[in-house]
Amino acid sequence: MDVRAIDLSATTGTSRLHRASPVTKLIAFGLVLAAVVVQQNLFVVLACLLLCVALAVGTRLPLRKVLGLAAYPGLFAVVFALAAAPDPLTGALFVVRAMAAALGAIVLVFSTPYPQVFAPLQRVLPEVVGDALLMTYRSLFLLAEKFERLRIAIRLRSGLTRGHPVRAARATAGALGALVLYAFDLSQREYDVMRLRGYQGRLRVTLPHAASPGFDAALLASAGVVLVTAVVFRAAGAALTPWSWLLAASALLALLVTVAWRLIPR
């Protein structure tokens, strides 16, 4: 989990998606997620997945990291499908569904800084939860960096070697123990700093306005069309399923066009 890469992409990206309103992106993600969850047809879910990939390609997100993160839940879905799916096609649906939903979330966080993703949630959650979400985000970078340094130090002393799992586990445990103590010291320091800055039990994040309201409207409309299509295909059942492969083919075409557009030198 490379949080620094995610943060870098979210804060330095210049695409229209990056500049869209966080609330719009959250709603659009919710609509696409609903479409993926509602659908039972493999081809319609596959179309959602391909459209998410096309969006990632079109907005020039770091594709290797995005697809790598999306593959992770796919891997667990494969295990779940092998363990519980009644037949291979249902298993395939589980995997594609998991990857499509995950890719939607990943495109969201790669194009929106975490505090802006949390800001709408912060307004509806209890104070302590909203503030702790932001503190977790801040602490995550500090702890991840500290832990990486500890791991390097252990590796330099040959603590992490593939041939010695017990030694590796003990070394990792030692590093995590040191990290626990560091985390407590860090929380004390952060509390002192926050009090000095006048913290009264509420951290506020201001949400940026959309740079291009037209793009926001188009994004919402597109996500709405995806959901309506999914609902119609679900409601129509057997009447429309013979045509569902057309959706997957169209989404694949859209992805190919996006890739070609991106490859054109400017």
Binding site: M1, I6, L33, V37, Q39, Q40, N41, L69, Y72, P73, A77, F80, A84, A85, P86, L89, T90, F94, R97, A101, A102, L103, A105, V109, L121, E127, V128, V129, D131, A132, T136, Y137, R138, S139, L140, A144, F147, L160, R162, P165, A173, G174, L176, G177, L179, V180, L181, A183, F184, S187, Q188, E190, Y191, M194, G237, A238, T241, P242, W243, W245
Partner: protein, 264 residues
């Protein structure tokens, strides 16, 4: 089995909705309890412990490709109420990274919060029974028992979701009729006959709970053991260096100093 690695859209809507409602009620109650304490001081602590769990979940034990969860450690450090809030935060952040579904955030919160609360309670129980000198054992046993219970809860969840034919369709089972391909050009221009027909539609099939339980109970104990070893090592380390963080004041001091065993 810390968090549920079940994809979105597999569990039935009623179960997902019930999970969300129960998790939100838990988080609101836990926030109310946290307010009674010095909430401003708790916020950074919650943040760093939640971040600690996230960091540990992204740390692979090199040769066996297993990631630790540290949920029992977090439970011992935070207690059950703050632990519930930390669980909610961890699950939200994981879901945004695609690690665990968004729709199962509620159920995942309940699962991790239960793990933290059970870990906290069992650790205190075993630590009291075994004494401070066997903190590692207390942590290891508490972790194994906690993970065994939550793994069973997970199997129960899958049984609730897909154990009966009544919930089969809602589990997201693919209707075999979906594999009937139609060719939009068959009436004219081009006729492609390679994409045609499939098996006749069958009734919706439920999830295989028995197979799922067999896999989980076969692979699970390996994970429980690794988690128990790591938790024992981490809590032993913290208990040695900063005992106040682990024991609070509830557990009595040992009657003899450590290393005095052979004096008599």
């Amino acid at each position: 089995m810390s968090h549920i690695h079940i994809p979105d859209g597999v569990l039935p809507l009623w179960l997902v909705a019930a999970g969300w409602v129960a998790a939100l009620v838990l988080v609101w109650v836990a926030s109310g309890r946290a307010k009674r304490a010095d909430v401003r001081r708790k916020v950074p602590l919650l943040g760093v412990v939640a971040a600690l769990v996230l960091v540990s979940m992204s740390t692979e034990i090199v040769p066996v490709a297993y990631h630790v969860n540290l949920t029992v450690v977090a439970g011992v450090l935070l207690g059950p109420w703050l632990g519930a809030i930390a669980a909610f935060i961890v699950v939200i952040m994981l879901a945004l990274l695609g690690h665990g579904g968004v729709t199962v955030i509620g159920l995942n919160t309940l699962m991790i919060a239960a793990e933290m609360a059970l870990g906290w309670g069992l650790f205190r129980l075993f630590a009291r029974a075994l004494g401070r000198r066997r903190i590692g054992w207390a942590a290891a046993v508490a972790t194994v028992v906690t993970l065994a219970i939550t793994t069973t809860a997970l199997v129960g969840l899958v049984a609730l979701a897909g154990g009966g034919a009544a919930t089969g369709r809602e589990t997201g089972a693919l209707d075999p009729a979906s594999l009937t391909f139609a060719n939009p050009f068959s009436g004219g221009i081009v006729s492609v006959n390679t994409l045609r027909g499939a098996e006749p539609a069958a009734s919706a099939a439920p999830l295989s709970v028995t197979r799922f339980a067999a896999v989980v109970y076969t692979l699970g104990p390996i994970g429980w053991l690794i988690e128990a070893l790591i938790t024992a090592a981490v809590l032993s380390y913290v208990a040695r260096v900063r005992p106040g963080l682990v024991f609070g004041t509830a557990i009595p001091e040992p009657t003899r100093p450590v290393g005095d065993e052979g004096a008599h």
